[in-house]
């Protein structure tokens, strides 16, 4: 065995702090972990999302309460966060389906599709933000 092969470091059970602070993750890795985080966030907030649906369709009165609730800045921020989560999860999910067809299965392809995912999801989130905080 050559000297270089013997000294080659092996990384096992990489610690979370390494991932968070020490390694520079490629864009595809960031899209991937955000896909997971957004999925977990939607899972946790499901009852809140259903409550908003409940308010919005049950009656004219509850619809007005729904609109009133969305006047609150904290509600706006939470709803914007969830909208981002949905849009990111949606776009990153479609990216996964594309990768499943063995398209863009290269280093460059992974990076390009990661950029498209981020640009599209953030642009759509910006539209939601304008709708929420604008008019």
């Amino acid at each position: 065995m050559s000297e270089a092969a013997k000294k080659r470091p092996q990384f096992r059970n990489i610690h979370i702090t390494d991932l968070a602070f020490n390694y520079r993750m490629p864009l595809a890795a960031k899209v991937s972990i955000l896909h997971r985080i957004s999925g977990v966030a939607i899972f946790i907030f499901l009852p809140f999302i259903l409550y908003l649906l409940d308010l919005s369709i049950t009656s004219e009165g509850s619809y007005e309460r729904f609109r009133g609730l969305l006047e609150h800045p904290l509600a706006k921020i939470v709803v914007l966060g969830l909208a981002w989560g949905y849009l990111h999860h949606f776009c990153a999910g479609i990216r996964h389906l594309v990768l499943d067809t063995h398209t863009s299965n290269t280093k460059e392809g992974a990076r390009t599709t990661a950029i498209i995912t981020l640009v599209v999801s953030l642009a759509l989130t910006a539209v939601v933000a304008v709708k929420l905080f604008g008019a």
């Binding site: 999925g39 009852p47 619809y63």
Partner: protein, 121 residues
């Protein structure tokens, strides 16, 4: 063929182990994506505005069923995803089992709430 796949001889590794969940996660994802498009198109094509346009969609039986099918798909999709998350990060078996059981109860409870909302209107 099936006889050698039960009890201690059950096959838990190999090329096709987990394929069902993998496929189910993708099929439920496509259901949710299609529903998103149907929701947006139906809403934008509505002749009404405000509450009437929004709640009017959910007043129709086909839309209630489409919404409920989508929510059940979401629950199955979330189960596969959350199970993956627990298996990746939670190593103590007891805690992992507890969280997996909680995940199922949480999702079934949410599906019940969704059904109640949809068929109350």
């Amino acid at each position: 063929m099936a006889n050698n796949n039960i009890g201690p001889k059950r096959l838990v590794v190999g090329a096709h182990y987990g394929t069902f969940d993998w496929l189910a996660q993708r099929i439920t994802a496509i259901v949710m994506a299609l529903y998103t498009v149907i929701l947006l198109v139906t809403w934008l094509l509505s002749n009404e505005t405000g509450y009437q346009a929004w709640a009017g969609m959910f007043a129709q039986q086909w839309f209630k069923l489409a919404t409920f099918v989508t929510f059940v798909s979401l629950a199955y999709h979330a189960w596969v995803g959350m199970r993956n998350v627990w298996m990746d990060y939670i190593k103590p078996v007891g805690l992992r089992l507890t969280l997996q059981a909680f995940t199922i109860l949480w999702l079934v409870g949410c599906a019940g709430y969704a059904a109640q909302i949809l068929w109350r209107v």
